[in-house]
């Protein structure tokens, strides 16, 4: 049979006696036909390569290979599952299972791939959202915690401060600032921060034009409490209720910015304990009474330096205006306390605590009874 294409070539050399009709047989091939034979072979090979895209690939022999429909999304060849192209979707991932290939359906937006705990398969997991710009969450008295907090409307804003905090602690701020903007009104719940913010500053802001229009009054509870190593800044609002600022954990920090008003409190206006730090960085107003205005205990630090503190009305401090115990430090120097009338003991410092006024004198703090020192406390 003439060898007219590659498929007719024989695997036994002796059987290939011609190529395209050119005689290759021993003793009969003419020397002048060598070039014709080579040319013909090259043409046949080239024709075979061009035909490859239409070549049919057979799956073994008909009697010992089965191709059948497997589980949803799979074909089965000889009982082994093979993902079926028809069931895949963009974003799916194929991976090697214990005995065969498996398909992991695509996850949802912002999920990340991780190894499962059994180390047998990948799985999707929810990751922190990484900010690429500053962000503002809105909280309004007519909002809803079912909203996403990203619009200053009743249909977009959160209802509670705590909801905003709970969302922010899930973010990677990546160096950007998150502002929690409070609309005018009275909020009956405070903000408790027990999980650190990651990667950037967080500011709770009220009304910079009229801070008294935004009131946080959790009725006997803490307005702003930090109990983990993170920093929260609060500004332009009024606090009432139990304690205004409470930083009570090593590394916990609350910074008071502009436009703060400390209203009537059943406990303290500011509390720093157990290594916590409260810093007042801008002039502010006292508009209500409390047990203490500054209360530091157990290594807490309160700093309120070079400020003008304006008192409004008559306000009594039942323990002392400034109180420090158990190695706490109040750095409250170079400030001026003015306006209204404040009654109660000016200061109390005990158990190796320190109140530093930079020589402000016995009457540096407002009040109508003398300050006291005891058990190692220092007033300087």
């Amino acid at each position: 049979m003439p060898k007219n294409d590659v498929s007719s070539w024989d695997t036994t050399p002796a059987n290939n006696t011609d190529v395209g009709g050119v005689d290759l047989a021993e003793n009969s091939m003419r020397p002048r036909d060598v070039n014709n034979a080579i040319r013909t072979m090259m043409a046949q090979i080239a024709s075979g390569i061009l035909a490859w895209p239409t070549t049919t690939i057979e799956l073994g022999h008909a009697t010992d290979t089965t191709l059948s429909r497997g589980a949803a999304g799979f074909m089965a060849v000889e009982g082994k599952r093979v993902p079926s192209p028809g069931s895949q979707a963009a974003g799916d991932i194929l991976y090697r299972g214990a005995t065969e290939w498996e398909r992991l359906a695509k996850g949802t937006a912002l999920q990340v791939l991780r190894q499962n705990s059994a180390l047998t398969a990948p799985e999707w997991a929810t990751a922190r959202e990484v900010l690429s710009a500053n962000r503002t969450y809105y909280v309004r008295t007519d909002g809803s915690d079912s909203n996403n907090g990203l619009a200053d409307t009743s249909g977009g804003a959160f209802l509670t401060l705590q909801k905003a905090i709970n969302v922010v602690v899930t973010l990677d701020l990546a160096g950007f600032t998150v502002t929690i903007q409070l609309g005018d009104g009275t909020y009956t719940g405070g903000a408790a921060v027990s999980t650190p913010f990651l990667g950037g500053p967080v500011v709770i802001n009220g009304n910079s034009g009229t801070p008294g229009n935004v009131i946080v009054d959790p009725s006997g509870a803490v307005c702003f409490g930090v109990t983990c190593a993170t920093k929260l800044t609060v500004q332009n609002l009024e606090m009432r209720g139990g304690t205004g600022f409470s930083a009570t954990s090593p590394g916990a920090q609350i910074a008071g910015g502009a436009g703060l008003r400390f209203g009537a409190a059943t406990s303290f206006h500011t509390l720093a304990g157990s290594g916590g730090y409260v810093e007042l960085t801008a002039n502010y107003t006292i508009s209500g009474a409390a047990v203490c205005h500054y209360y530091g205990v157990s290594g807490g630090l309160i700093q309120a330096a070079s400020l003008t503190v304006t008192n409004s009305g008559t306000n009594a401090f039942s323990t002392a205006f400034a109180m420090a115990e158990e190695t706490a430090v109040l750095r409250t120097f170079l400030s001026t306390y003015t306006g209204g009338t404040i009654t109660g003991k000016r200061y109390g410092v005990t158990t190796n605590a320190v109140i530093q006024t930079f020589g402000g004198g016995a009457n540096y703090f407002p009040g109508n009874s003398v300050g006291t020192t005891a058990t190692g406390g220092q007033y300087a």
Binding site: L334, Q356, T357, G359, G360, G361, A362, N363
Partner: protein, 122 residues
């Protein structure tokens, strides 16, 4: 950068009078234009505001920063005298008791016996 508070080299504005400042290093008031004071302000410092000269004297007393300004010295001496009065009164009484006992022909009491007597009063 402001200096760290150093009571021996600090300034006070007393009773709101901005025309001068009390310098603990000098022990007296210096005018607002004083070169050292202006340089100190230039480092970002602010004088401590204090209500009266008497209070300033009290502030200086624990550090033994005796003022030369008579008006501040009074508060300084007052603070020292308050602290020392109880101790001195106790010594005067102790001596007086023994003088009375001597007049009565009684034996002298020791300081330890006197402390025991005072303890019994508490």
């Amino acid at each position: 950068m402001p200096d760290t508070y150093d009571p021996s080299n600090w300034y006070w504005t007393v009773n709101g009078d901005e025309t001068k400042a009390y310098s603990s290093a000098v022990g007296d008031y210096v005018p607002a234009g004083n070169t050292a004071f202006v340089a100190w302000l230039g480092r970002g410092n602010s004088p401590t505001r204090i209500a009266s000269e008497a209070e300033l004297g009290e502030v200086l007393a624990p550090y033994q920063l005796r003022p030369t300004a008579a008006s501040v010295l009074d508060g300084y001496q007052d603070a020292h005298s308050r602290k020392l009065t109880l101790e001195i009164v106790a010594k005067v009484l102790f001596n007086l008791v023994n003088e009375v006992r001597a007049l009565k022909g009684q034996s002298q009491i020791t300081a330890q016996q006197f402390r025991a007597y005072v303890k019994g009063l508490m």
